[in-house]
């Protein structure tokens, strides 16, 4: 009986999560520039308008660049740091981890503004490189969390066996460590890319004249006549993200089977 009520609640909660998100695709196909019910027929013209918008394409390419660079850098930094704290007994490792995780506890607006002040003080221009630096703050703690979990669930003996069998450190890394870490690396790259791609506030302060996609979207929200187009963009981002997540899950399952989580 009780489990039936709970199931009902679960579906109601799912509706609460999905209704606002489904508003995006629904109105992106609605043949009216007003975002209100009743719907007034099907159209794909908002998607056509998107394809024709060169400002949008520029913002998209900026966001992809920033996202890819941030994902690669934060995963490399995270990989080195995660290895350091899981494989070596280092004095002060706890404090270092705390320091690296600090951005999780600082509002994004403070991270963005304090970097803005630093760039001003040392005379560096606002740029996409500055956005990457800001995004590293947000992404490295995520990468580190994912990768530490992976290193901890990883059998050290395999590396030692490889060394005993005469492989040097580099070969051991490529033949043992890297393949075993691949699922963690994939997860870290995906998580940090999506985080950077979606990050608005830090980029808003640091990007200068080079808008990223969220900054472009923020600018469009002020113009009611542009809204259906922005919703079409949101629907596309949703579809691509879901495809990416499913692809990552598929890759993860191709890799080493990991033990089942939980009971």
């Amino acid at each position: 009986m009780k489990s039936k009520t709970l199931r009902l609640y679960a579906f109601a909660y799912l509706a609460f999560l999905y209704v606002p998100v489904l508003v995006l695709p629904v109105f992106s196909f609605n043949n009216s520039q007003f975002i209100a019910f009743p719907l007034s027929g099907f159209t794909t013209r908002w998607y056509g308008a998107l394809a024709a918008d060169s400002v949008l394409r520029h913002a998209l390419s900026n966001s992809l660049t920033v996202g890819i660079v941030t994902a690669l850098l934060s995963t490399m930094l995270g990989l080195a740091a995660a290895r350091a704290v899981t494989r070596y007994r280092l004095r002060g490792a706890g404090a270092a981890l705390g320091f690296i995780s600090l951005p999780l506890f600082i509002p994004d607006i403070v991270l963005g503004l304090s970097l803005l002040m630093l760039l001003g003080a040392v005379g560096l221009p606002l740029s996409l490189a500055a956005v990457v630096l800001g995004h590293l703050l947000v992404c490295v703690p995520f990468a580190l969390t994912v990768l530490i979990a992976r290193f901890e669930g990883f059998d050290k003996n395999l590396e030692e066996a490889s060394a005993d069998l005469g492989e040097d450190g580099w070969m051991t890394f490529w033949r043992i460590t890297f393949p075993l870490m691949l699922p963690g690396i994939t997860a870290s790259l995906l998580l940090t890319f999506i985080t950077s791609f979606d990050e608005f506030l830090v980029a808003y302060f640091l990007s200068g004249t080079e808008a990223t996609l969220p900054i472009y979207i923020w600018g469009q929200l002020r113009f009611p006549e542009r809204l259906p187009m922005v919703l079409a963009l949101g629907a596309i981002i949703l579809a691509v993200s879901v495809a990416l997540v499913i692809a990552a899950e598929y890759i993860r399952n191709l890799g080493v089977k990991k033990p089942m989580v939980g009971a």
């Binding site: 609640y9 679960a10 909660y13 799912l14 609460f16 999560l17 999905y18 606002p20 998100v21 508003v23 975002i35 209100a36 019910f37 009743p38 930094l77 080195a80 740091a81 290895r83 350091a84 704290v85 494989r87 070596y88 007994r89 280092l90 004095r91 320091f99 690296i100 951005p103 999780l104 506890f105 600082i106 509002p107 994004d108 607006i109 403070v110 503004l113 304090s114 803005l116 002040m117 630093l118 003080a121 630096l133 800001g134 703050l137 490295v140 580190l144 999506i194 979606d198 506030l201 969220p214 979207i217 929200l221 919703l231 963009l233 949101g234 981002i237 949703l238 997540v245 939980g262 009971a263």
Partner: protein, 286 residues
């Protein structure tokens, strides 16, 4: 085999690049922020000498105090609502769902689209010609669209409870999933009914997840800028909006820096007190 000293220097070498990046991008900017907050704006530059004037202004002005209070109150409400709504959901997945993995994916998919647009969607739902108003009009429950749904603290709480739901569901689910099922059987065998068993075993053992979720939600939402700006109206403005104005429109960086630091300190103190009391409660219960 490398000797111990050599191997630990190798470890520090691996840690160094991350620490350097964090030092440059986090520690130095925060230090600069502290220094800036101790100065006074004078035209485009700063006046000579150090001063505590900014902190006096931040703490002394009633309108600022109100904004701090409101930000904390809204975030506390968001935290409470989000965790309370997510707990039964996580409980269902951990104990009753047949296809756990599919449920977890289904619960996280809504978070894979733009944060800005997820927040904006609530403007469409709560707005004058929005989903709720049109539905109520269609059902003839109201003649005029309700204007009270949007541009107030309520709209901010609902929107943030939606935007941060995954941060509650996942940690609570993980801590529920970790509970040793034999403890539950033992409680039942010893005569506990379902409710008593939940209160004595499941709830206390899932508290780490609840506390983690609360911190993960409370800290960032206090500093949220987008949601109050889009759905908050004048009554739902929060501290981040005021900080942004100081930097972008007013051009008073020292005041903006002091506001940032004071709000960080308030959040840190509240989060610290919360963690300490949670720990004390856990000790007392043991």
């Amino acid at each position: 085999m490398p000797n111990k000293g050599q191997s630990s220097s190798e470890g520090y070498g691996l840690l160094a690049p991350t620490l350097v990046v964090m030092g440059v991008a986090l520690a130095a900017p925060l230090l600069l922020m502290v220094l800036t907050s101790l100065q006074a704006q004078s035209g485009p530059g700063f006046a000579a000498g150090w001063t505590l004037d900014q902190y006096g202004a931040v703490l002394g002005r009633a309108s600022y105090r109100l904004l701090f209070l409101r930000s904390v109150a809204i975030s506390a409400a968001v935290t409470l609502v989000t965790v309370a709504l997510a707990y039964p959901m996580a409980y269902f997945v951990a104990f009753h769902a047949k296809h756990k993995f599919i449920w977890l994916v289904a619960l996280t998919i809504p978070f894979w689209t733009s944060y800005l647009l997820r927040v904006f969607a609530w403007k469409i739902i709560l707005g004058y010609g929005g989903v709720i108003n049109s539905a109520l009009m269609r059902l003839h429950l109201i003649d005029q669209p309700l204007g009270v749904l949007l541009y107030n603290p309520f709209a901010v709480v609902v929107t943030l409870a939606h935007a941060w739901a995954a941060f509650a569901i996942l940690p609570i689910y993980v801590s529920l999933e970790k509970i040793d099922r034999s403890l539950l059987e033992a409680a039942s065998d010893l005569g506990d009914g379902p409710l008593r068993r939940f209160l004595r075993i499941t709830l206390p053992l899932s508290m780490p997840g609840v506390i983690g979720a609360a911190i993960l939600i409370f800290v960032p939402t206090t500093g949220d800028y987008v949601t109050p700006a889009l759905v908050g109206g004048t009554q739902g403005t929060m501290i981040a909006n005021l900080i942004e104005v100081q930097f972008n429109s007013v051009g008073n960086w020292p005041l903006g820096a002091a506001l940032s630091l004071v709000s960080m300190a308030i959040v840190a103190v509240i989060a610290g007190l919360f963690l300490a009391s949670a720990r004390a409660a856990a000790k007392a219960a043991r």
